[in-house]
Structures are given as structure tokens and as C-alpha cells.
């Protein structure tokens, strides 16, 4: 099954390589990996989706913690969360097809961000299924080019990761109290 991890890492050179190298050498299959800034400049946040069973997922978590630059790993697969992927899709849109394409984009709440005589670029945000759905219906018109960011995820509700909770210094960073969580680094 696909597991979704939210991983907080130190914002330092080479950290992405360390994470990617770990997945490669332990033969874990990354489905998607995104990395970006957080509200704290010293931290980066990764969202990693991996195809893994429960035991593998725990080992991935433990192995991520072995990286000295990794502060917090949360497996949010089983938790209510908002999961988003962003895609830009360049579709062939001749005069006749244009209105159909626009209609489809609007049904999927996509936005047209570029209009050219022979094509349109549609920007769409949503979970992966939604984007896959739009792609499916656009395909007959001719998808010329497509790019997706990979998913980012955030838990619903007021619960926040302790590393970013107000007043928490990095040194006090620790995982949830959930006993099933792997709360260690070696």
C-alpha cells in the first residue's frame, strides 16, 4: 500500500541526497518525493509516498531517523489529511475543441493559465485521483505536455508537528506520544 510520510529535515546542503540515497540503498521504492521550505527557515519539509507494507513502513521510518539531519518523521497514511498534487497540462485545443476543453477544465475546477491559438495550459490542484481523472478526459483532445509536482500532504485539524509548534526549539523536537510511532534516532 502507499504510505505517506511527512519528514522534517534540517535545511542544509546535501540533505535531499541523503534521504534519496537511503531509499535507493535500502531498496525502498519512492512513488513521490517533494521538498520545500516551511514556516521556519532552518527546516525543510518533505512529503514522501512509498509503496510499503506495515513492517517496511516502520523500517523506513526508523531508517529515516538514523539520518542525523532528520528531525521528525510522521506516517500520516492512516490519519485524516489533505493531500494535494499540482499539475499543468498543455492540451491541444483547436477552434472546435476549445470550448469542450474549457468546459472539462471547469468541471474539474482547473484553471486556464495560458491560451495559445492551438493549445491551452490548464493548471489543476487536487489529490492524485482527481488529476488522473482530468487527464483521462483530456487525452482524446491531445495532451501535448504535462508536469506534476508530486504530492504534498498535511494533517487535518489543529494538531501540528511538534517541531513546528510555537515555542518549541529544535532541540526539544520530538514525535507524538503515539506509542506506535518510532521516536528515535541512532
Amino acid at each position: 500500500m502507499l504510505n505517506t510520510f511527512v519528514v522534517y529535515v534540517e535545511n542544509k546542503p546535501g540533505v535531499l541526497t541523503r534521504v534519496a540515497s537511503l531509499f535507493r540503498r535500502r531498496a525502498f521504492n519512492i512513488d513521490s518525493l517533494t521538498v520545500g521550505r516551511t514556516e521556519k527557515p532552518e527546516l525543510s519539509r518533505m512529503t514522501i509516498t512509498v509503496d510499503a507494507d506495515r513492517d517496511q513502513a516502520r523500517r523506513i521510518e526508523a531508517n529515516l531517523y538514523k539520518l542525523v539531519n532528520v528531525l521528525l518523521v510522521e506516517n500520516i497514511t492512516a490519519e485524516p489529511a489533505i493531500v494535494r498534487d499540482l499539475a499543468m497540462i498543455k492540451v491541444a485545443a483547436t477552434h472546435e475543441a476549445r470550448s469542450h476543453v474549457l468546459e472539462l477544465a471547469s468541471v474539474f475546477r482547473g484553471r486556464v493559465v495560458d491560451v495559445a491559438p492551438e493549445s491551452l495550459i490548464i493548471e489543476i490542484t487536487g489529490d492524485e485521483d482527481k488529476i488522473d481523472g482530468l487527464l483521462e478526459v483530456l487525452r482524446p483532445y491531445g495532451v501535448l505536455e504535462m508536469v506534476r509536482t508530486g504530492i504534498v500532504a498535511m494533517r487535518r485539524g489543529s494538531k501540528v508537528s511538534s517541531v513546528v509548534a510555537a515555542g518549541n526549539s529544535l532541540a526539544q523536537a520530538s514525535a507524538d506520544d503515539d506509542v506506535d510511532d518510532v521516536q528515535y534516532s541512532v
Binding site: V9, E10, G14, T17, R18, S21, R25, D55, R58, R59, A62, N63, Y65, K66, L67, V68, N69, V70, L71, L72, L170, A171, A173, S174, V179, V182, Q183, Y184, S185, V186
Partner: protein, 570 residues
């Protein structure tokens, strides 16, 4: 006070308690070497950087302190790689300092530039590239802390030439480690202790599997208390040998691929495995599908990533072994286990009649004889044996009875040929009062024999026993068993080891008869300089028993019985 990066380097090392480093100079590390004159640290000049890494490793394993290797950029750094990987697989704390080209040149394929932090990323516990003198003190403090804490391992610090040359304010106290994501001190939850105790107290056929972690944790006394209080027998990994004295009545000996039959049968028939500081390596488990099928498993381990990696366990206690055992010991109940122990004893009897030591002298010189005689001569004295990798390593593990922790130093996880000679140098430097014996094959010896010069240059009293069978023996054994005795590339044409030793001014002797073994060992021990003994042993001898790779642990190729007649028949 203003100091150059090079000066800061040595001062930090001194502050970390470093007294010796093993290194080899070169262009990009020259500023650091220039500053050596200001430090009390003794620099041991090696003959190849791989030797430096193994020496640092041997130093660490002999002393429990962090060992340090120094090399220049490019080829100097890449030559360390095998030694770093060796230390990684055996959780040995070393810090490798490498020079790097100037920070402005990084990425330009400058002379002797190599991306050593990239290269060593998967074989270090952590590594650093330092481009500014101002970052050096904190980085080095972090490096030593990471190397020695938690599950120890190698840390590499790559320092650009300009970072060594430029000067900055040096304030050790202010340069505190900043490792917000690093938490090496873990401990199990109370309910995990309870679950473990319940399994232990309900078990009828329990066995303790004791590994290197017990040594690293310094849990020798706690392990012994547990064993004696609970009456549970113990099987050891290769790197666990010496943690519990071999003579202890509950010590069964080494398990795994070349473990004795009764040890492996004990594990296969157990109803509870208590794994202490070991990681269920394939060399100790055999086929995982058939491994200890009726046993519950308890795993006490400091590295959470080892839990359920190879063997699924019922209870995991993640933490420092000594602390965990201290938490457990007061609640351990003494249980009468004589039925189980008697059963194991009966299995032992069957193996003993096959043992080469119990057979009459046939005139052949077997490696097992050499090692057993070496043990008889050196037992009771403060002796450390450093072995290489292959047949002699397994015979050493079987026939040298280790009573003390750190009395065996060997490359377990990576199985690095060429390890023994340089690692022994590190061990001797770390513990000069210890008698050090290198037990090495004729193949592995030739991989790093350049370090003979280091032994002489440092005036080290090291005894070298070459177990010379004219083959890459273990590979030959595999070819014999699994490749229809097709001995491709395993027969060795060797130099005259005596003349070689002569060239270095090392006293030497060649032994071909069993009767010569003890006198040669005695005379080597009495000589106050290094000695090399070339033991010309039976060429096509075999390490028994053996669990073939992928076979079940109880499916062993046993010793022929009796072995001498079989050998004589050939």
C-alpha cells in the same frame, strides 16, 4: 584566540582525547600536517590509506575510544573507503579527516579532487564537508559525538585546503554540537520489559544470542548476571566472542555458518531466542524461512532500524543493552533448566568425537592445531588476536577460546581481507601492554603487507602468524563444495615470506610440523621485536561444520568422522 583551521583541527582532536592518529600526507591536507608540530598527538605514518582506516578501526575496537585516520584528497580519500565500510558494518567508532581542494575549486575536477562526502555517504554514519575554518570546531565535536554515541560508526570530515589555512577565533566551549535530529539515547517502555520477562519466565528451551552490541555497550557484567541468574545458555556471534568467557559453563560458543552443530541445533530447537546486541545477520541465521521456527523472539538492540529487519520479533527493547539489562535483572527469576541443558550437552558429545583436537597426531599440520596451540600458549596472559577473513578466521573463532572482551578483533560484517595486519597495528598502539597476534591467511596478508614497514617504523612488538595453505582457502572450500572443485583463481603463488620479513628486518621462522608450533610461538613471545611465523599448513583443509549459504541453520555439512583417516586416504 585566532587560530588557523589546521591548528584548530589538532586542538579539537586533543580535546576529544585523541593521542594517536594514523595517516598519510598529501597536497590538500598539507596545512594540517604543517600544524602537527604544535600538537602532542603522535602521527603514525601508514603505507596505504586503507591501512590508516583499518588502524583507526583496530584502535577503536581495542580501546573503545574513537580511532582517527587522516588522508589527503582524491586518491588518499578514496583509499580509505574499504576501511570506512568495514567500520560501518561492524559499528566501529572512527573519525576520518580528509583534505579537500580549495572551496573555490570544488566541482571543477581540480587535481586530486573527488566528492568523498558523496562517495562515503552510504558507508558512514554521517559525514561533513567543511569549507570555512569557523565551522571546524563545532563540526569536529559533532563528528566525535556521533561516531561514539548510540550505535557507533564512522564519521568523515572533509576539510577544504582554504578552511585549513584561514584563521578565525577558536572557542571550543562555544562550538557546541548542534544536532537537533540526533537522539541516540533511547529506552524501552515498561510494558516491553514486562512482555520480555513474561516470555523469559515461561520459556522451556530458551537461548541467548549474544553479539557485538554487548561489548560496545560495556554490558559484560550484566550479561553474565543475566546468564547466571536465569540459567539460560548463550550462543555468540563472531564479534560477540569474548563478551562471555569461553570457559563459562553456559557459553555454547559461536553460532551460524561455521558454528558448532550443537549450537545451531540449540537455536533451531529453542522456544525462545533472546537476542542481545546482534542483528540476525545472514551468516548467523541461515535460511530465514526455517530459522528457529518454534521460537518466540526478544530483540534488545540500540538501533531501531534493526528491529524486524531480518527476523520478525515478538518483543523489541530498543535501547542501550547495559541499561536495558540493568532494568531487567532485578526481576529475572532463577528457573531450573537442567532438562534443556542436559539435552544440549548430549548433542555436544557427538560433535566432540569429530573434533580434530581429539584425534591423534597424523604428522599433518592443520591450521586448527596451530591456533589451538597458540591459544594454549597465550591463555591467561593479556593477549589480543587480530584475524583477517577466511578459513583461518573461522578456525580461530573455533579453536582459540576467548575469555576476555576485546581479545578478538576481526572484520565481521564486511569480511574485509587485508584487515588484520593494519588493525593489529591500531590495537597495539591503543593497548601497548597487550600481546598482539595477527592470525592471517597468505592471501589476505598480501593485500596489506606494506604495513610491515609501519610496524618497524613504529617499533611495535606484533607477532604475525601466517596460516599459509597456498590457496584462497575459503573460496577454494566453496569451489570444492559448490563448484565441483573447479579451483579457478584460488591457488596462490606466494613470495618467500621469510625473505620478505628479512627485508624489513623482522625476525621470522617457517613451521611445517606440529611439533614446531609451540617452540615457534614461545620464541616469538620472548623476542622483543616483531616476529613473523609462516605456518605451512595442510593445503586443502576444510572448515567444518558449515551451513551452506541459503540452507537451514540445522542442515550442516559435518566433519567427517574421524577426520585424520579421511585426510590420510586422499
Amino acid at each position: 584566540m585566532m587560530k588557523t583551521g589546521a591548528e584548530i583541527l589538532w586542538q579539537c582532536l586533543e580535546r576529544e582525547g585523541v593521542t594517536h592518529v594514523f595517516g598519510y600526507p598529501g597536497g590538500a591536507i598539507l596545512p594540517a600536517y604543517d600544524a602537527l608540530k604544535h600538537t602532542r598527538i603522535h602521527h603514525v605514518l601508514v603505507r596505504h590509506e586503507q591501512g590508516a582506516a583499518h588502524m583507526a578501526d583496530g584502535y577503536a575496537r581495542a580501546s573503545g575510544q574513537v580511532g582517527v585516520a587522516v588522508a589527503t584528497s582524491g586518491p588518499g580519500a578514496t583509499n580509505l573507503v574499504t576501511g570506512i565500510a568495514t567500520a560501518m558494518l561492524d559499528s566501529s567508532p572512527i573519525v576520518c579527516i580528509t583534505g579537500q581542494v580549495g572551496s573555490k575549486l570544488i566541482g571543477s575536477d581540480a587535481f586530486q579532487e573527488t566528492d568523498i562526502t558523496g562517495i562515503t555517504l552510504p558507508i558512514t554514519k554521517h559525514n561533513y564537508l567543511v569549507t570555512r575554518a569557523g565551522d571546524l570546531a563545532r563540526t569536529l565535536r559533532e563528528a566525535f559525538y556521533v561516531a561514539r554515541s548510540g550505535r557507533p560508526g564512522p564519521v568523515l570530515v572533509d576539510i577544504t585546503k582554504d578552511a585549513q589555512q584561514s584563521a578565525c577565533e577558536f572557542d571550543w566551549d562555544a562550538a557546541k554540537p548542534q544536532l537537533p535530529g540526533y537522539r541516540p539515547d533511547l529506552s524501552p517502555a515498561p510494558r516491553e520489559y514486562e512482555q520480555a520477562l513474561e516470555l523469559i519466565h515461561n520459556a522451556k528451551r530458551p537461548v541467548i544470542l549474544l553479539g557485538h552490541g554487548a561489548l560496545i555497550s560495556g554490558a559484560m557484567r550484566e550479561v553474565r548476571d543475566l546468564v547466571e541468574r536465569s540459567g539460560i545458555p548463550v550462543a555468540l556471534t563472531l564479534l560477540g566472542l569474548g563478551v562471555l568467557p569461553a570457559s563459562h559453563p553456559l557459553n555454547l560458543g559461536m553460532m551460524g555458518m561455521h558454528g558448532e552443530a550443537w549450537v545451531n541445533h540449540t537455536i533451531q530447537e529453542a522456544d525462545l531466542l533472546i537476542a542481545l546486541g546482534m542483528r540476525f545477520d545472514d551468516r548467523v541465521t541461515g535460511n530465514l524461512k526455517t530459522y528457529a521456527p518454534n521460537a518466540k523472539k526478544i530483540h534488545v538492540e540500540i538501533d531501531p532500524a534493526e528491529i524486524n529487519k531480518n527476523v520478525k520479533v515478538d518483543v523489541a527493547l530498543v535501547g542501550d543493552l547495559r541499561d536495558v539489562l540493568r532494568g531487567m535483572l532485578p526481576k529475572i527469576e532463577s528457573i531450573d533448566r537442567h532438562e534443556w541443558l542436559d539435552y544440549i550437552d548430549r548433542m555436544k558429545g557427538d560433535s566432540a568425537v569429530r573434533d580434530i583436537q581429539n584425534l591423534p597426531d597424523s604428522g599433518h599440520l592443520y591450521a586448527a592445531h596451530v591456533i589451538n596451540d597458540l591459544w594454549r600458549e597465550t591463555r591467561g596472559s593479556n593477549t589480543t588476536v587480530v584475524t583477517d577473513v577466511g578459513q583461518h578466521q573461522m578456525w580461530e573463532a573455533q579453536y582459540y577460546k576467548h575469555e576476555e572482551p576485546r581479545s578478538l578483533i576481526t572484520s565481521g560484517g564486511l569480511g574485509t581481507m587485508g584487515f588484520a595486519l593494519p588493525a593489529a597495528i591500531g590495537a597495539k598502539v591503543a593497548r601497548p601492554d597487550t600481546e598482539v597476534w595477527v592470525v592471517v591467511g597468505d592471501g589476505g596478508f598480501q593485500m596489506t603487507m606494506a604495513e610491515l614497514a609501519t610496524i618497524v617504523q613504529e617499533s611495535l612488538k606484533i607477532n604475525i602468524a601466517i596460516i599459509n595453505n597456498g590457496y584462497l582457502g575459503m573460496v577454494r572450500q566453496w569451489q570444492e563444495f559448490f563448484y565441483e572443485s573447479n579451483y579457478q583463481a584460488t591457488p596462490l603463488l606466494n613470495p618467500d615470506f621469510g625473505k620478505l620479513a628479512d627485508a624489513y628486518g623482522i625476525r621470522n621462522e617457517t613451521v611445517t610440523q606440529r611439533s614446531q608450533v609451540v617452540p615457534a610461538v614461545q620464541s616469538a613471545r620472548q623476542h622483543n621485536g616483531p616476529v613473523l611465523i609462516n605456518f605451512q599448513v595442510e593445503q586443502e583443509d576444510t572448515v567444518y561444520p558449515m551451513v551452506a549459504a541459503g540452507a537451514a541453520l540445522h542442515e550442516m555439512i559435518r566433519r567427517p568422522s574421524p577426520i585424520v583417516e579421511t585426510a590420510a586416504d586422499e
